[in-house]
Symmetry: C2
Subunit: 209 residues, 2 copies
Amino acid sequence: MPGKKVSEKTIRRLSHYARCLRIARADGIPIVTSKHLSERCGISSAAVRKDLAVFGEFGKQGSGYGVSDLLENIEGILGTCKPPPVIVIGAGNIGSALLESGLDGTGGYSYSAIFDSDPKIIGKTIAGVTVQPIAELREVIGAYGDVIAILAVSPGSGQNAVDNLVNMGCISILSFTLEPLNVPEGVVLRYIEVSTELDILTHSMKCRE
Amino acid sequence: MPGKKVSEKTIRRLSHYARCLRIARADGIPIVTSKHLSERCGISSAAVRKDLAVFGEFGKQGSGYGVSDLLENIEGILGTCKPPPVIVIGAGNIGSALLESGLDGTGGYSYSAIFDSDPKIIGKTIAGVTVQPIAELREVIGAYGDVIAILAVSPGSGQNAVDNLVNMGCISILSFTLEPLNVPEGVVLRYIEVSTELDILTHSMKCRE
């Protein structure tokens, strides 16, 4: 069932609530208050109550919210009840590092496959996942259906890798590659930019001196 | 010299220009046009020209911009002519992965030290950097002066690690830890949230189905 599109800021908050609720559930806590979520998510109590009021009948103010029900509802909105498989393109330093770090605590995401074009790397096993040749990408995407592809290729190879993914029907890409990439309408491409974050921090530091 | 505070969005664009200019310089290109920067940074030509007009006399429209001069000016605004050392707290999967990935291509940032509290990890070498005990943090920050600290500790240890850093005078922190952390005024704390990005992509995917 297609869901209602919610703003990115709201999705961010819901993602944080879901994370806190999973921790509460793992700790055996049956009921949480908006204050609990507020403190653990770093989001104001008022904003938490407003979100939970907007997104349905999650509980009664004052008596708290049932952890399992609330988590189920939020995961329903996010669409993360059954998270899509995550595949990684590029088994160099970043790709390997991602697999070794894992996705524990993210609510069910996991790395299902990793690809590289280098014959020296293909066949290696990283954190239990065997590096496959790019030629097998189509088959893997065909088998999994919707996937999120993480791009961890070397600079200069990003556009080629993205074009390849898009041709095979991938519509969700997260790039660790430091170059702007073009995708057709309907494909969502997001970036993780550690070096831009470092520049932002350096600039703030300079401004405080 | 303290700089003028520039908006985060602008800093992001300048950071991208600097990255493109470094590549041009490495390729031996002496002059670039706003069109060159626009295409390679994924930013409109008009926005590039506006930025370069606002931030000084960087060149004449039509005749292009000298790569070295423009880069020097932008790095002057960003404060990244001499990037601060980057230290990593936590030598688990994420911390190790960061060091192994390196910071090549970021314009001079490098990992100067990594710390952990686990005696089994202390003394190990990761990508040429030896893991030091947390007890040596004060000495290292004292020796380097301003540093950027990347937080890569396990969930639940973040606030303790941040408090420790702040007590030792660190004012710039980038957290890979998935928990909200409190810092006093004057300390800038930013987050890299891979799992939130995955949730945003999953939600968009669901909305397109």
